[in-house]
Amino acid sequence: MSVDFSVGLYGLIAIAATAMVITRARPVHALLYMVVALLALACLFDSLGAPFAAMLDVIVYAGAIMVLFVFVVMMINLGQPDETRERSWITPSNWFGPSVLAALLLTTLIFALGHGDAATGPNITEVGPTAVGMSLFGPYMLTVELASFLLLAGLVSAFHIGRALGEKR
C-alpha cells in the first residue's frame, strides 16, 4: 500500500469514468461522470507533484466549465414538460454510478493523505504556484502575450458564429 497504489487507483477511476462518459446516451448522465473523471485527474496531478495544476483542474474544469455545461443542457429545449422529463433523468440508478466512483476517489485521497504527503516520492519534486508563475512570466512571457491573440481569435470566431440569425444587417 503505497503512493503507487493510490496513483494506480486514480488512473483506473479516471479511465472508468471516461469510458462511461462516452457511452452514455443522455448528456446529463455523461456530464456527471465527466465531473468524476476530472476530479480523478486532479488527484493524479496532485500525487505527481503538481498541486497547482490539480487546483486549476478542480476550479476551472470540474467547477466552472462543467457547471456551464450542465446549465446549457438544462436550458436547451425549454418549453416541453420539463419537470417530468428532468425527474426521469435523475433516477437513483443514474446517480448511483458516479457517486460510487466519487466515494472511491475520496476514500483513496483520504487514505493517501493519511499516509504522508504524496509528493515525496523518489523522482517527484513539487511544483507550486510560484514555480509556475516564475516560468510563465520568465522564459515563457512572450508565449503568454501571444496566447492573448489565441483567445482573441477564439472570442471573435465564437461571437460571430453565435450571433443570432435575426440580427442580419
Partner: protein, 481 residues
C-alpha cells in the same frame, strides 16, 4: 522587460499591432474600405520587415526558412484579401468587418508557426490559425452548409490538437525539454517512447494537413465555405504546417528505416494516390481542388523525405508554385461564379471570357506540371531531390499520381473549350482587385516557369543546426519539471 520583446520575429510584431489597430478601427466605425485598407497595409508592412533580425531566443527561430515561408504566407493572405474584397458571399454575412480581422489573425498564427522553435510557440500559432479559420469557415452563419463545415472542422481540429499535445507530452516526458524537434534529435534514453511521441505529433500534423488517411474532412469543409476561405484553408494553413513540419524533422535522420520514416513514406504514397483518386470523381471544382491539394501534400512529402541539398530548396519551391496556382484557380472560380462551383459553370469559358479561361488553363497546367508553367519545374525539382535520396517507391508514386492528375486538370480545360450554354451569364465583370490578382498570378506562374532560378536561393538554407541552442537554460528547465 522591454528587451524581451525584441526576441519576437518582426513580422509577428507587425501583424499583432495591425490586429489591434484594426479592432480599434472597427469599434470606432464599421467600414469595409477602412478594414480592407488596414489589413492590406499591415500585411505589406509585415512583408517589408521580414528581412529584419531579432534577438536570439529559445522560443523563436528567425532564420531564412522562417522568412521564406512567412513571405509565402503573407503574399497568399494578400491574395485572399484581394479575392474577398467585394465578394458577395462574404458580404452576405451579418457584417464583413470581422472577416478581415480573422484573416489577419490567421496570417499571424501561420507566421508564428513557421518561427516556432518551442512546442508552446508552435502550438499557440497553430491554435490561433485554427480558431480564426473556424470563424471564417462558419462566417456565413445563416447558411446550413457553412455550419456543417464549421462543425466538421472544429471537431477534427480538436481531435488532432489533442493527439498533437499528447505527443508533445510524451516527448517532454522522454527528453525533459519542449524544443520543437523530433525527440530523436535530443538523444533520448528510451527510443520507443521517443518514437511514439514523434508518431503522435506527426499524426496530429497529418490531420491538419489532411494527408490520407486523415483527409476526409477537407473536401466537405471546402465545399461548405466561401471561395476565399477555401483558398486560405488550402494554402496558408498548409504552408504554415508544412514549414513547421520541416523544422520539426530538421535534426532527425529520415533516411534510416524505422517506424517514423515508414509512417511518413506510407502517408506520402497514400496521399499521392488517394488525393488524385478523390479528385477524379468530383464534379464540383472545390472538391476537385481539395483532392488536388491532398495529392500535392503527398508530393511535398517526397521533398521532406529527401534530406540533403535538394530537400529544403525543392520543398520551398514547390510550396511557392502550389500556392500561386491554387490561389489563382480559386480566384478565377470567384470571378466566374462565386456561388456556383460546379464544373459546368466553366463551360464555354474560352468563348465567353477568354482571358479568364486562359488564366485557368495556366493554373491547371501548373498544378498538373505541364512545361511552360512553374509547376513543371517544381515537380522536377522534387523528383531530383527524390532521385538523389534513392526514394524509388516514392518516385513511382509521384509519377503515377501525376498521370492521374493530368486527367482531371485537363478535364477542366476541356469543359472550358466546349460550346457555351445559354444560361451562362456574360455580364458579370471581375472585381478590380481580383482581376489584378489573377493576372499577377498568371504572370508569376509563367515567368517563374521560364526562369525558375529567380526563386532558387543562392545559398542553401540551413535549418535546425542549433537544436541544442534552442534548449532553455538549465535552471528554468528544472523549475518547470
Amino acid at each position: 522587460m522591454m528587451p524581451t520583446f525584441s526576441a519576437l520575429p518582426p513580422s509577428v510584431v507587425v501583424l499583432s499591432l495591425g490586429t489591434m489597430v484594426l479592432m480599434l478601427a472597427i469599434t470606432i466605425k464599421r467600414s469595409e474600405i477602412i478594414d480592407a485598407v488596414l489589413t492590406l497595409l499591415t500585411l505589406l508592412v509585415a512583408l517589408a520587415v521580414l528581412p529584419m533580425g531579432a534577438a536570439p531566443s529559445a522560443l523563436f527561430a528567425v532564420d531564412d526558412w522562417h522568412r521564406f515561408s512567412s513571405a509565402l504566407i503573407i503574399l497568399s493572405s494578400i491574395g485572399v484579401l484581394a479575392m474577398s474584397w467585394r465578394d458577395p458571399t462574404v458580404r452576405e454575412a451579418h457584417a464583413p468587418d470581422e472577416f478581415y480581422l480573422l484573416l489577419l489573425m490567421s496570417a499571424l498564427g501561420a507566421v508564428l508557426m513557421t518561427a516556432g522553435r518551442n512546442d508552446i510557440t508552435f502550438f499557440i500559432g497553430l491554435e490561433t490559425l485554427s480558431l480564426s479559420l473556424l470563424g471564417l469557415i462558419g462566417y456565413r452563419q445563416h447558411r446550413i452548409e457553412a455550419g456543417e463545415a464549421a462543425m466538421k472542422y472544429v471537431v477534427l481540429s480538436g481531435v488532432s490538437s489533442a493527439i498533437l499535445v499528447f505527443g508533445f507530452a510524451l516527448s517532454y516526458a522522454e527528453t525533459g525539454s519542449l524544443v520543437f524537434a523530433a525527440p530523436h534529435a535530443l538523444h533520448p534514453v528510451e527510443p520507443l517512447l521517443a518514437a511514439m511521441a514523434t508518431v503522435l505529433v506527426m499524426t496530429g500534423m497529418f490531420f491538419k494537413l489532411s494527408a490520407v488517411p486523415f483527409h476526409t474532412w477537407l473536401a466537405d469543409v471546402l465545399e461548405g465555405t466561401s471561395i476565399p476561405v477555401a483558398a486560405l484553408l488550402s494554402v496558408v494553413s498548409k504552408i504554415g504546417l508544412f514549414a513547421a513540419m520541416l523544422r520539426y524533422f530538421a535534426g532527425f535522420d529520415l533516411m534510416t528505416p524505422g517506424s517514423v520514416s515508414d509512417e511518413v513514406t506510407a502517408v506520402a504514397l497514400l496521399s499521392m494516390i488517394g488525393g488524385n483518386l478523390l479528385a477524379i470523381g468530383q464534379t464540383d471544382l472545390k472538391r476537385m481542388l481539395a483532392g488536388s491539394s491532398i495529392a500535392h501534400i503527398g508530393y511535398l512529402m517526397v521533398a521532406l523525405l529527401a534530406p540533403g541539398a535538394f530537400g529544403l530548396g525543392s520543398a520551398g519551391f514547390y510550396l511557392a508554385a502550389y500556392a500561386a496556382a491554387t490561389i489563382g484557380a480559386f480566384a478565377i472560380m470567384e470571378a466566374v461564379s462565386p456561388n456556383h462551383t460546379h464544373l459546368n459553370s466553366l463551360q464555354g469559358l474560352f468563348r465567353t471570357r477568354p482571358a479568364l479561361a486562359l488564366g485557368m488553363a495556366v493554373m491547371m497546367a501548373s498544378l498538373a506540371g505541364i512545361p511552360p508553367a512553374v509547376g513543371f519545374f517544381a515537380k522536377v525539382y522534387v523528383a531530383v531531390a527524390g532521385v538523389s535520396a534513392h526514394r524509388d517507391l516514392l518516385l513511382a508514386g509521384l509519377i503515377v499520381g501525376s498521370v492521374m492528375g493530368l486527367f482531371y486538370y485537363l478535364r477542366v480545360v476541356r469543359v472550358m473549350l466546349m460550346p457555351a450554354t445559354d444560361e451562362v451569364s456574360t455580364g458579370r465583370i471581375a472585381a478590380p482587385g481580383n482581376a489584378v490578382l489573377i493576372s499577377a498570378l498568371a504572370l508569376v506562374t509563367l515567368v517563374l516557369g521560364v526562369y525558375p532560378s529567380l526563386l532558387i536561393p543562392r545559398n542553401p538554407i540551413h535549418l535546425g543546426a542549433d537544436v541544442e541552442a534552442a534548449t532553455l537554460p538549465v535552471s528554468t528547465q528544472t523549475a518547470i519539471r
